[in-house]
Assembly symmetry: C2
Homo-oligomer: 191 residues x 2
């Protein structure tokens, strides 16, 4: 098996529920898209929040839209350490038992009791592309990154859904460790 | 070939020349060791500096001793981006053409015209251990890190010297990408 997929490096970001968005930005607030992301329908919003813990803060963290059922904060471990947090590596949406955090917007703040994760590295595929590469949802693969800081990521989760476009997602620690920028092509080298 | 070596994760740090130390901490200043490092004779000093560029600053960056011939600033790429710098990945001491930076101490400051690098991942070996593993100075190897965020680092430089102890050095981006802490054992899997 040998196939290439586009890399997307996710900087720290926040997903919010409509209820939390209104606490942060006021009643009736909506997200304003400023840039489309690699996955269809997903976008970076103009709205941002400050993240605060007893140990520190990070300002102006981008909200990604559209709104979700539950708010979620995705940090690189470098960010988490700055905030004195030790979140687990989780797949998006799997938030049980994760640390909480305070999000502050221009209108008000939200105290999340859980929701902070380090996103597990993963690859999105539409069903046709996945089938072409003999991959199915929940497979794990190894992905080789070439270059001066070349490395091979293991345990990369494959996620297949009709709404997905082929794209591998890693966080900024992983991107920096590999000295890679978004939009380069990387290679699935083994199941 | 299969051998294990202890991992050491280097946070951002500074090496200084005696001349620069005196500009930062005053005439006749010396470094005060507070913690021995993995390599014999190397230590974390009590002394720290602030790093400043036109784009940002990082406070309280540790000086590692003893003093060297030339000052050198080792950053993770995450740190460098915060400072608006784009330093190359280099072996320690190879500073030609690297970006400069301002170091500020309690007595005065130093304007480095060059010296900022991202340290290339490498392994220290004493000659006896290197020979036991059939490795020599300037070899490159692949190193496998196990665990939830397992990965294999390629292009890892082997450095052999009688003053060295066996230890692999990576930076905080690389350590966080692998979800590893210092002092775990990692495995050289291929030349």
């Amino acid at each position: 098996m040998c196939c290439q997929v586009k890399l997307g490096i996710s900087a720290r970001h926040v997903h919010v529920s409509q209820e939390d968005l209104e606490k942060l930005y006021g009643s009736g607030a909506v997200l304003h898209p400023i840039k489309d992301l690699g996955q269809p329908g997903q976008y970076a919003a103009d709205e941002r929040v400050d993240l605060i813990t007893p140990k520190g803060s990070i300002k102006n963290v981008r909200i990604l839209g559209p709104v979700r059922k539950q708010s979620q904060v995705e940090l690189a471990l470098t960010d988490a350490r700055k905030l004195g947090l030790n979140p687990p590596v989780r797949d998006s949406g799997n938030l049980v038992g994760t640390p909480g955090i305070t999000m502050v917007g221009p209108y008000g703040s939200v105290e999340l009791t859980e929701g902070v994760i380090i996103a597990a590295r993963h690859i999105h595929f539409d069903p046709a592309t996945a089938a072409q590469y003999d991959l199915k949802d929940q497979d794990h693969v190894c992905v080789k990154i070439k270059g001066e800081r070349g490395l091979t990521f293991e345990h990369v989760l494959v996620r297949v859904h009709p709404s997905f476009a082929p794209e591998m997602h890693i966080d900024t620690d992983e991107g920096n460790a590999a000295l890679m920028d978004s939009d380069c092509m990387v290679e699935i080298v083994a199941k």
